[in-house]
């Protein structure tokens, strides 16, 4: 099992990193030929950075749009952030001080994450409009994320796993010096689900994470009258 998971984690990491890099490169390379910020838009680059920060951290537009989706969505994402931060302790030795500090919040994060996902799923099932636009993959991704959260919380509260050994395993992976993974069904399940998440990330709607930074309606400055904005393919049409 140790060998299998070691190989799978290397493969999934390569797939995740390479897949994301390719997607980001293609977003980067594709020009935005016209100025299309959703107005009113900031008139300076720093204003745009602030607008983007509000979108990414506070989900500003979603807040304006729908308070329920905002509450559940924000809860899930902040929870996920805390959980990821908490998990850094498995990859750092010695553990960074802020990771140490954040540990208890990571637990609450895990609960918030599962609760938020539950709310989002309930809306997907019970709100007619959202049910209409849902595809099977939308449900499966929610199921996947909730299962990751539940197995994680399960190992914290119900069936403890040998986290010292888990840490040794991951540090071993990073140092190419493999250490045994504890023989534990729930842990295997938790890790398998995470592997799945890593693999689907660059080929699914989870691309919204890097994608939002490339969204022309949110990342453009309102300066079309002051500066000529020209994509390379469009410049060739000037005669």
């Amino acid at each position: 099992m140790t060998t299998l998971f070691a190989i799978l984690f290397y493969a999934a990491t390569v797939f995740l990193v390479a897949g994301l890099a390719m997607k980001i490169a293609s977003y980067w390379r594709t020009p935005a030929p016209l100025k299309i910020p959703t107005m009113p838009a900031p008139r300076t680059q720093s204003g745009v950075a602030l607008r983007m920060a509000r979108e990414v951290v506070l989900f500003e537009s979603l807040f304006k749009s729908n308070k329920w989706i905002w509450v559940f969505g924000w809860m899930f994402h902040v929870g996920l952030f805390l959980v990821l931060a908490r998990h850094l302790r498995y990859f750092t030795d010695p553990v960074w001080f802020w990771v140490e500090w954040i540990q208890p919040f990571g637990i609450y994060g895990g609960m918030a994450m599962v609760a938020g996902l539950g709310g989002l799923w309930a809306r997907r099932v019970f709100v007619e409009r959202i049910r209409y636009i849902s595809t099977p993959s939308d449900h499966l991704i929610l199921a996947l994320l909730i299962s990751i959260g539940v197995t994680g919380l399960g190992m914290t509260y119900v069936v403890h796993t040998d986290i010292v050994a888990v840490k040794a395993f991951f540090l071993g992976l990073m140092r190419f010096d493999w250490q045994p993974l504890p023989n534990d069904g729930v842990l295997y399940l938790h890790l398998s689900l995470i592997l799945t998440l890593m693999v689907i990330f660059p080929i699914s709607k989870l691309l919204h994470a890097p994608g939002i930074f490339f969204s022309p309606t949110r990342n453009q400055v309102d300066d079309s009258r002051e500066k000529r904005h020209l994509a390379p393919w469009a410049a060739k049409l000037d005669k």
Partner: protein
């Protein structure tokens, strides 16, 4: 003309989110463009034999040219935030008019041909093979979007359905399956210079009539010049200002303001159109060649400034795209000969281009106009933010100037002003229901139903504040409201041009002879 048989939605106390009625608007589809309409724009005359291949190739081409198209097709998470934001969904109850559902009509095909998941697990991610049914569905539902961008305000990633609609229409044109209304009109601009197909001599005669009318009204000889070399200002205005009501009153308003300001100006017969329907069909080449008529006219007439009349999407194209499309702006690279040619000629002390509202606002600020707002005391006015002005352009060089300046102008010439409900104005404004290339009789049912949210907000201020005037700065909004208001039992002539209000309050100086 008798009212077509349309079930006008009932206006309630507030807009309710409707239960879904699948297929409620499946029958609504505009006339398909005729071969000569298509050919004039460089598109195939009719549906080509290998249209499936052409459509997918065109989609691939757009994916490489437009970051918006590529990113927006990838990143939607189906969160549902946009589902209750579209006026066409609220008015028609058809679920395919929810922005995300409209996007999915195209996204499902994108997935099938361009993504790993869609190629290998189509059912799982809702991917579909392209088919004639899908093409017809595109022709129908991508002509039930007015590209008003309201959904993009509320999307957590800023996904703008207008970009998807434009892409879809560009694909439809590329396979020979375009829309008659827009393409026929674009052909007229290319050939004659305006959407009406009104040739120079006829335009000249029309303008003389207007000048006479102003003289009869005011006793002042106000000129409406055409093709006058050496004028300071080139006015580009939608051709509806030459023939439709209340647009004409707006045009006469501009003329009176120019007269009072003592600034020389001219219209151009070659570029006698502010509208640019190239935007609506999402076709860069057509949009550019229409914009270049204005560039050519400005260069030939040797003007120092370009001012744009009351037209929503024209202002979007002018404010946001003219610099890109035709070099009509500022800040071109020193080596950019194309843009420098025009930018060196234009006076950099003024915004290029400038909106007629910005122009009049500046004059009011400088106290260069004598105004008597009591002339409008019989009116209680509200202002409709046109979608393309509100969400796709700016004014005054300040964030939100597109909301503040028109209101400041209206309030300078009218004593009685009220806004509609806050969630229906400014960036959240509801489209009139006729924008984006839908202002055609073959889409009347859609237009009337789509006007419902705006009419609901209007009803509230009519009931509570006795509003009797709906002011707007968009030719399409004005025409659309003229049609839609009676369906909702409002008087048709409630709709007014902002410069009509200015005109009524403007005190004209008697000319010294």
């Amino acid at each position: 003309m008798a009212k077509p048989d349309i079930q006008t939605p009932e206006l309630k106390e507030y807009v309710e989110i409707p239960a879904l009625k699948d297929g409620a608007m499946a029958h609504s589809s505009p006339f398909v463009a005729k071969p000569d309409h298509q050919a004039a724009l460089g598109f195939p005359g009719e549906l080509v034999d290998n249209w499936e291949e052409v459509a997918i190739n065109k989609m691939g081409d757009l994916l490489n040219k437009y970051r918006s198209f590529k990113v927006f097709l990838d990143i939607c998470v189906h969160c549902g935030a946009c589902t209750d934001k579209c006026h066409y969904f609220l008015g028609t109850e058809d679920p395919k008019n929810m922005p995300v559902a409209r996007q999915e009509l195209l996204r499902s095909v994108y997935r099938r041909y361009f993504t790993f998941a869609g190629k290998h697990f189509p059912k799982l991610v809702g991917a579909r093979d392209i088919s004639k049914e899908i093409l017809d569905e595109w022709h129908s539902y991508f002509h039930q979007c007015s590209e008003c961008r309201r959904c993009s305000v509320f999307c957590p990633y800023g996904i703008d359905t207008a970009e998807i609609t434009m892409g879809a229409r560009d694909i439809l044109d590329a396979v020979g399956y375009g829309q008659k209304y827009s393409n026929e009109i674009i052909g007229k601009v290319h050939k004659i210079g305006n959407n009406l197909g009104l040739p120079g001599p006829a335009l000249e005669a029309t303008l003389e009539d207007f000048a006479e009318e102003i003289q009869e009204d005011t006793g002042v000889p106000v000129r409406i010049p055409l093709d006058e070399k050496g004028a300071d200002v080139l006015l580009i205005t939608p051709s509806a200002d030459f023939f439709a009501e209340p647009h004409i009153d707006g045009l006469m308003g501009y003329a009176k303001v120019f007269h009072q300001a003592g600034i020389s100006w001219t219209l151009s017969s070659y570029a006698s159109e502010g509208a640019n329907f190239g935007l609506f069909i999402g076709n860069y080449d057509n949009m550019k060649s229409i914009a270049e008529r204005i560039r050519t006219a400005a260069l030939e007439l040797g003007v120092k400034r370009i001012i744009v009349g009351e037209c929503g999407h024209a202002w979007r194209v002018a404010y946001s795209f003219w610099n890109t499309l035709a070099g009509a702006g500022a800040g071109a690279d020193p080596n950019d000969k194309y843009a420098q040619m025009l930018q060196k000629q234009l006076d950099p002390r003024y915004p290029i281009p400038q909106h007629i509202i910005e122009f009049t606002y500046d004059l009011i600020q400088k106290k260069a106009l004598r105004l008597d707002p009591s002339a409008n005391d019989w009116r209680t006015v509200t202002f409709h933010d046109s979608c393309n002005v509100a969400r796709a352009s700016g004014m005054g060089g300040i964030e939100g100037g597109q909301f503040a300046l028109p209101r400041a102008v209206v309030q300078a010439v009218c004593n009685n002003y009220v806004d509609m409900a806050p969630d229906t104005i400014h960036a959240s404004t509801f489209c009139c229901g006729g924008g984006g290339g839908l202002l055609t009789d073959d889409l009347m049912e859609l237009r009337i139903k789509g006007a419902m949210p705006r009419m609901q907000a209007l009803k509230q201020v009519v009931d509570e504040h006795n509003v009797n005037t709906l002011a707007a700065i968009c030719a399409i909004c004005k025409s659309q409201f003229t049609k839609a208001l009676p369906f909702y039992e409002f008087p048709m002539d409630m709709i007014a041009s902002v410069h009509q209000l200015v005109s009524d309050a403007l005190i004209m100086d008697p000319t010294e002879v």
